[in-house]
């Protein structure tokens, strides 16, 4: 007996009819089982799971309608064993009752064998289609589950400081088109992204992997958040079809600089909450979502705000504010803000927002993916300050730990001279770090060098070329004034020639157990009165703070030596590191 031979169940109290139908079915290559009343018909159905059921209406014990109702209840939504009523009751009502009970078709006696067989074929065709749809659905479900597993297990599990960040992620289908990323910058800042691809489900997720890769790689290399946004925009523009785009909010939070840099491209407003639940800032969308325009708009810029250690930054996607209740009302901004503020009081923002949403929506179908990220403005791992030289005690004097090359000349030098407009548009530090990585390979110790270079370059640019006074940054009003002034002075640079410049020079000296980099940064500014703040041309650690803000303090801790010369327009720093010592 071939395995794929179909099985039919005939339920009829007339043995004669059963015999007749069985013969016809066998001619169509069916195996046949028979029951003579409704109740045993249901039992047979459970026992044999037939592919087709033929049902009489008037039978003892249980009639055909009741048996059909029970069978259809058993067979569930997804499966279809077609059920055909065979009857002599040629009335409109019996036809309607048959369909109501769950019958798929009705055949009225008398009929010829040819009509009967045609009917069976037609029903089989329908049930084959249902089978096909079912297996396609299953396939799609498997794909979505795989993609979801990849997203949550691979992409988002690699996020930085997962334990410190509050997250809501409720997908409308299995797979969310929203993406939440965090990554640590080389200088200890943290970059955050909350993004929403158009639509939801698998179709909306094709950009997720390239976005993740780019965000992580560029953060690691030390590119600024605006550089990252610009690159993601270019990438999404090339990748996504015309009607798909990527709305996203970005933040770079700097704990040691007490500031946050924000960019919102097409998401609902983001918030900065104080620990008392005050909304300190709202970050409105200032740019169309990414992937629509080939390049960012020329006036695209980051919003800079001062943050306290206890502040919390919150981004949401439109799924939250556009969630609906039974009467079709939107959850909206006021409800969200109230829930968030209540939550901050109890240090449970995420729970509070979720509860409020659930109360509001009850059990309405969710139309869109719902996402939120809540990021504290401090508490990231401290910047690693321990790369200063520590000579192990076991070394004897005869064995000089750091043997420089005899003539003390660098094994390579690197110069970069940036002028005018380029000072506004180019961030040279990733370029420099790339060069070093290419020449000397990757290494943990470059993180400190990155911080030193960034701080010294920014100092040269802000306080040298742009002649900004860092004491402004000490008050909240001054803080935003400082950044407004900074961006307007940067704009003016665009028109200036080569008179405004910063020159970066690096010299590299290999040491027997490590290496040394000497950094020279010269700027075109007017400098400052070194004698006022320095003794013997070297900065005492405590004076560093007064000199030019928080940055210099940090640099001084990381450097081996740090000196200002030429009226403060030239800074020379040296950085020494040792390879991890293997103790045998």
């Amino acid at each position: 007996m071939p395995k794929n031979q179909k099985l039919a169940l005939v339920v009829d109290d007339s043995k004669m009819q059963c015999k007749l139908l069985s013969v016809l079915l066998q001619e169509e290559d069916y195996r046949v089982v028979v029951a003579n009343d409704g109740a045993s018909g249901v039992d047979m159905y459970i026992e044999h799971q037939p592919d087709l059921v033929l049902m009489d209406i008037n039978m003892p014990i249980m009639d055909g309608f009741e048996a059909t109702r029970r069978i259809k209840k058993l067979s569930g939504v997804g499966t279809l064993a077609p059920l055909i009523f065979i009857t002599s009751m040629d009335s409109e009502q019996s036809f309607i009752d048959s369909v109501e009970a769950g019958g798929d078709s009705i055949l009225v006696r008398p009929f010829t064998p040819r009509v009967f067989k045609a009917k069976i074929k037609a029903m089989q065709r329908i049930s084959d289609l249902v089978e096909q749809v079912k297996s396609l659905q299953q396939e799609q479900l498997n794909d979505a589950e795989l993609a979801e597993k990849m997203m949550s297990g691979v992409i988002e599990a690699r996020n930085f400081a997962l334990d410190k960040i509050g997250v809501i992620k409720k997908a409308a289908t299995i797979f969310s088109g929203d993406i939440q990323l965090t990554a640590l910058c080389p200088n200890g800042d943290i970059n955050v992204l909350l993004g929403d691809f158009t639509g939801h489900g698998l179709r909306s997720s094709i950009g997720a992997i390239p976005v993740t890769e780019t965000f992580r790689a560029m953060t690691k290399k030390g590119f600024s958040i605006l550089d990252i946004v610009a690159q993601l925009n270019r990438q999404m523009y090339t990748l996504l079809p015309g009607d798909l785009f990527f709305a996203a909010s970005f933040a770079c939070i700097s704990e040691h600089d007490k500031s946050a840099y924000i960019f919102n491209a097409g998401l609902p407003e983001g918030y900065l909450f104080s620990d008392s639940g005050l909304i300190k800032n709202r970050f409105n969308s200032t740019h169309p979502p990414l992937g629509i325009l080939p390049k960012l708009l020329p006036d695209a810029q980051l919003e800079v705000v001062q943050v306290m250690k206890t502040d919390r930054l919150v981004f949401i996607t439109d799924g939250i504010v556009e969630a609906r209740n039974k009467s079709g009302d939107l959850f909206g901004f006021p409800r969200f803000e109230k829930a968030a503020i209540d939550g901050i009081f109890h240090k449970k923002l995420v729970d509070s927002v979720l509860n409020s949403l659930d109360d509001f929506c009850q059990h309405c179908d969710q139309e869109d993916d719902i996402s939120l990220v809540e990021v504290p403005c401090s508490g990231w791992q401290a910047v690693e300050l321990s790369h200063k030289v520590a000579i192990p005690e076991t070394f004897t004097e005869e064995e000089d730990f750091f043997v420089t090359t005899p003539d003390s000349s660098p094994s390579w030098t690197y110069h970069l001279h940036l002028t005018g407009r380029l000072l506004k548009t180019i961030n040279p530090i990733p370029l420099v770090m790339n060069q070093i990585n290419d020449l000397e390979g990757a290494g943990e110790h470059w993180q400190s060098l990155y911080t030193i270079l960034t701080e010294l370059f920014i100092n040269g640019l802000d306080h040298g070329v742009l002649a900004l006074n860092s004491s402004l940054k000490n008050s909240a009003e001054g803080f935003s004034q400082y950044f407004n002034e900074r961006s307007s002075r940067l704009d003016k640079l665009a028109g200036s020639g080569i008179d405004d410049f910063i020159r970066i020079a690096l010299q590299y000296y290999p040491l027997s157990h490590g290496g040394k980099v000497v950094i020279n940064i010269k700027d075109s500014g007017n400098g400052f009165d070194i004698l006022d703040v320095m003794k013997d041309n070297s900065i005492a650690m405590n004076d560093g703070l007064k000199l030019s803000g928080r940055g210099v303090e940090l640099v001084n801790q990381l450097c081996d030596t740090l000196e200002y010369q030429e009226q403060g327009t030239l800074v020379t720093a040296s950085y020494i590191w040792h390879n991890p010592v293997k103790l045998n």
Partner: protein, 101 residues
């Protein structure tokens, strides 16, 4: 029909109006409303005064319309969106990409 389109008396404008919800379910209807219209220098007016709600796939559909309008060297104007719809357009900063009045 929640998508309707008509040409103005002078033949210089094609007005597409959306009623109630503007979402992915209107995809085909919306395309059909403009796809065969390739008259050069035509002004396409997307009338959203009767649109109560719009989702992000509708924004995507508007971008496709914008591409079409640019291909036929026409002009696209989004007309009289309700407050709810205007807010959605503003979040997406569509006023930077097209005229909204």
């Amino acid at each position: 029909m929640t998508v309707s389109s008509r040409t103005s008396g002078d033949g210089k404008e094609l007005i597409i109006a959306i009623e109630e919800r503007f979402d992915f379910s209107l995809h085909q209807q919306f395309r059909d409303a403009y796809n065969r219209v390739t008259t050069p220098d035509l002004t396409f007016i997307l009338d959203l005064s009767q649109t109560e709600y719009m989702d992000s796939s509708a924004l995507g559909m508007i971008l496709l319309l914008k591409d079409h309008v640019q291909l036929c060297a026409g002009q696209l104007i989004i007309s009289r969106p309700s407050d709810t719809v205007r807010k959605i357009l503003e979040i997406a900063q569509f006023q930077r990409l097209m005229t909204i009045e």
